[in-house]
């Protein structure tokens, strides 16, 4: 699946295993392969427990202590991040690839003014004088939507609202003009109007700075607004990958189909009396221990006998589309 145009980030066969306190090992990510071109927005769609946050932390190299990447490679500008030394990796974090953390309210140092925290990121990567840094911070604050950047600089996080803190973290993330921006659940904690503001901010970033964005979320609506291509994940595996427009029109994998049905059914435009949701049977399988066969098999309406024993290989029924399901196999 290599592409002609220059690939900014290429993940090939990535596998991550968590060692549980009771001795079992949990395969959080299983043979993940992705490509991200500059200026492109790739959405990672999946429900909680499917390992999408693990993927984000694996790319940036901040997996928790009891997790380890045991296979595959992550190429950024053709340098494998998994083999890099800690100092080289630190150069890239925040400058080449930077991440917007999952809980923005808690991701700011409570005892340090927000302006200084943005400056810290600049200090770590760019040789600027303190005056230039201050100017850069005010520009950033302006860009993320603060109308009085000067006042905001010396404000402490607890004096800002949830939405404002999210903007500060985004300012930190884009401070050193990273080539790749990973947004982990950017809108999950926000409600209604605030959600669309942050979504607009992210899409604005993409046009202005041609930054490639990896949007990780279970919010299908956010995907429609932002993502060019979408990868659907289910318990540690990518079950389907493709451009958002085609995939939402003709989803291949039964799980994607079911998710789309669910999202549309709760739409307001469907009038009439109460009707049941087209639910997916069974429990969302969290990342269970290694077992053969397709992981969606227990909940799949179109499951076949071979789904139980073999795990499906990735197949490309159409250009720029790929799916791992026996329906489209040989």
């Amino acid at each position: 699946m290599d592409r002609s145009t220059e690939n900014l980030l290429r993940i090939q066969g990535l596998g991550v295993t968590y060692s549980q306190p009771n001795g079992e090992s949990l395969r959080a990510l299983d043979e993940i392969s992705l490509q991200l071109r500059s200026g492109e927005v790739l959405g990672i769609l999946g429900e909680s427990g499917c390992g999408k946050s693990t993927l984000a932390h694996a790319i940036i190299g901040l997996l928790p202590r009891h997790a380890k990447t045991d296979s595959g490679e992550i190429l950024f500008h053709d340098r494998d991040l998994l083999r890099l030394s800690e100092t080289d990796l630190r150069q890239i974090r925040g400058c080449g690839i930077s991440m917007i953390p999952q809980e923005p309210e808690l991701s700011l140092n409570p005892v340090m003014p927000v302006g200084a925290q943005i400056a810290e990121v600049l200090r770590a990567h760019l040789p600027l004088t303190s005056k230039e840094r201050r100017q850069r911070v005010t520009d950033l604050l302006w860009e993320v939507g603060f109308d009085q950047p000067a006042r905001i600089c010396n404000v402490y996080p607890h004096q800002l609202s949830g939405g404002q803190r999210q903007r500060i973290v985004i300012a930190q993330a884009i401070a050193c003009e990273p080539a790749v921006l990973i947004a982990d659940e950017p809108t999950s904690k926000l409600d209604g109007p605030l959600r669309s503001e942050i979504a607009d901010l992210l899409s604005g970033l993409r046009q202005k700075r041609a930054t490639a964005i990896l949007v990780i979320s279970h919010d299908l609506a956010l995907m429609t607004e932002l993502a060019d291509r979408v990868a659907v994940m289910y318990s540690g595996r990518i079950v389907e990958l493709g451009t958002r427009r085609e995939m939402f029109l003709r989803p291949f994998h039964p799980y994607t189909h079911a998710l789309l049905q669910l999202a549309q059914s709760s739409l307001i435009t469907v009038p009439g009396a109460k009707q049941r949701f087209p639910q997916i049977e069974g429990e969302p399988a969290n990342v269970v221990a290694l077992q053969a066969g397709c992981r969606f098999e227990p909940r799949c309406p179109e499951r076949m006998s071979m789904c139980v024993t073999h795990s499906p290989q990735e197949v490309a029924p159409e250009p720029s589309r790929s799916v791992s399901c026996f329906k489209y196999g040989e």
Partner: protein, 324 residues
């Protein structure tokens, strides 16, 4: 500033409460100073009652407390029966030595504990960290009196330090000799104090630093490529400072009690031996004066802790959260 005003008022109320508490106890206690005198036949009951009235011991509680408060206002803090002198000057001489011992002990303890605590937190789970955890839980479980006696035995057995009692006045000799002599005499009590207290405080500092290390904003700082050292000193330590300082007031209680014990064991002429002697000879006002002074140390320490907390934690400064 309102915050400081509030804590000051709080402190004064506390001191008043302590004095009331002590007087309540005197009321509860059956015996008194002169019980022992009753035992020996030569002293006739009349003289005993005369002595009692002279020292006002037979007055009702309220009157005695009122008289004590008046004398406290005159900075006498009541009248010691055993020494036949106002309590305050007696106490003050000894209090200076105790203060000297406790402050040096405290500074050393906090110096060692903070650096060790942070260093161990950064090396979480490593061999040394485990070793220290076991060692410190061992030291904590040993009562102070045993450690004091054991260390004293070691020092005395191998003649490490010249042991000498007696007051610390250094009129005769030059300043430097006095300082040197003072240092040698202080070495043992301070080591014991630091040894006992730092075992407890290192664990607390390590715990609060570890807690901050786990927070999302430290994780986020790492993800922005800020160097480990800078994250530790610019992010982790300032954030861990306020819980650690809140602990400072708490550890003071242990320090002051510990110092009393160690002074008695090592013969350091501080407040401890005086209060012990007063307790043995049942000299009320001296004992109450001692307790008040120790409570003063505590309240003063807590006050300092509050001021430091104000500097360390902007959330309190802006009145958002009474994060004590």
């Amino acid at each position: 500033m309102r915050y400081l005003g509030r804590t000051l008022l709080h402190a004064i109320l506390l001191l008043a409460g302590v004095s009331i508490l002590c007087f309540l106890f005197t009321e509860m206690a059956p015996g008194s100073f002169f019980d022992e005198l009753r035992l020996n036949p030569q002293v006739s009951p009349e003289t005993i009652s005369a002595l009692r009235s002279r020292y006002g011991l037979d007055q009702p509680l309220i009157v005695r407390y009122g008289r004590w408060v008046r004398s406290a206002a005159r900075a006498d803090f009541g009248y010691s029966i055993a020494y036949n002198a106002p309590v305050a000057p007696l106490l003050w001489g000894r209090a200076k030595n105790t203060l000297l011992l406790t402050t040096t002990g405290m500074l050393l303890t906090w110096l060692i504990s903070v650096s060790l605590g942070v260093w161990l937190a950064a090396r979480r789970g490593r061999m040394l960290d485990q070793a220290f955890r076991i060692a410190s839980s061992f030291v904590i479980s040993i009562p102070e009196v045993v450690i004091a006696v054991a260390l004293l035995a070691i020092v005395v057995r191998w003649r490490l330090l010249p042991m000498s009692a007696g007051p610390l006045n250094g009129e005769g000799i030059s300043f430097w000799n006095h300082l040197r002599d003072l240092a040698i005499r202080m070495l043992l009590p301070v080591t014991i104090l630091v040894f006992v207290e730092s075992a407890i405080i290192v664990r607390h500092v390590r715990a609060s630093v570890l807690e901050v290390l786990g927070t999302p904003f430290v994780q986020a700082a790492h993800s922005f490529g800020i160097s480990r050292a800078r994250v530790l000193f610019r992010f982790v330590l300032p954030a861990a400072a306020s819980p650690a300082i809140a602990l400072f007031g708490f550890s003071l209680a242990g320090l002051v009690s510990g110092s009393l014990l160690i002074e008695v064991v090592c013969g350091w002429p501080g407040l401890g031996p005086l209060i012990l002697e007063a307790t043995l000879s049942r000299d009320f006002y001296l004992v109450i004066g001692g307790i008040m002074l120790s409570a003063l140390f505590m309240v003063g320490g807590n006050l300092i802790a509050d001021v430091m907390l104000l500097a360390a934690d902007p959330r309190i400064r802006t009145g958002a959260l009474d994060a004590r």
